[in-house]
Symmetry: C2
Subunit: 151 residues, 2 copies
């Protein structure tokens, strides 16, 4: 149903949205991050029409975000796994999770809990400066155009 | 053009997408994070039809993500600012920026550069554990359902 492709905007956010900016794609990735790999499992969890799921999975494979691997023959069955490019979307998923937990979650509290394997701390990761390690919010960063968009 | 509301899924990610999971909304927020406040400026930067922009801004105001403030009378003109709820979407925008920079940006390199005001470091913030400060990737966190979704 999209009307415009953002791929030509000189903006990394627009280009990212051009690839993954579709609700179902992000929910498929959410499930992939939780370890879901098989078509039927995605379909059951998402309650999505099979043809739409097929199309979204194909797009994610074509974009190199998921890989498809045959795990059974006769009938042929495939599983889908996150590539490095896909795994790199983790901060987007975590950002949505954190925001939804704070601003949209039902009153019973967050439905999902994250735990840091290394230190055992339970909680959602935060944004931090790579250099000094300080926690980062919107006001802490300056946004600067490196070049002007073409007219 | 949406077919389904995700608001009823017991998942904070789905609920976040229900509110902001629309390309234009995220691009409006991107511009708001860069300091854009006025209708005409959004319109010029996004190249979006005025009626669609009006509708998206109204939705973002209704959701409490932007506030609308009269800054001129006769004719009345309004500006739009991020609320705390809106500012809290920063990690999502940064996540998309970072991913787009790495995987989708044009060959000339990232069009936007972020600088940490406090320490002067130039670069995109990273995800880190709130407890131990270690840098976090998808493999470092365990995802656990706190409760089963209602059947």
């Amino acid at each position: 149903m999209r009307r415009t492709s953002f791929a030509e905007m000189d903006c990394s956010i627009a280009q990212a949205l051009d690839v993954v900016g579709e609700w179902w794609s992000l929910l498929i990735l959410r499930d992939a991050f939780q370890g879901v790999r098989r078509f039927d499992a995605f379909q059951r969890r998402l309650g999505i029409a099979r043809n739409i799921l097929t199309e979204r999975l194909q797009r994610l494979v074509a974009e190199g975000i998921l890989t498809r691997r045959l795990y059974q023959e006769q009938p042929d069955r495939y599983e889908y796994r996150l590539t490095e490019k896909g795994l790199d979307l983790y901060p987007v998923i975590v950002g949505l999770l954190q925001w939804g937990d704070r601003w949209a979650a039902a009153s019973e509290g967050p439905p999902v809990v994250l735990t840091h394997r290394d230190c055992g701390h339970q909680g959602t990761p935060v944004l931090a400066c790579e250099h000094c390690g300080e926690k980062i919010g919107a006001r802490d960063m300056q946004f600067r155009l490196r070049r002007r968009a073409a007219q």
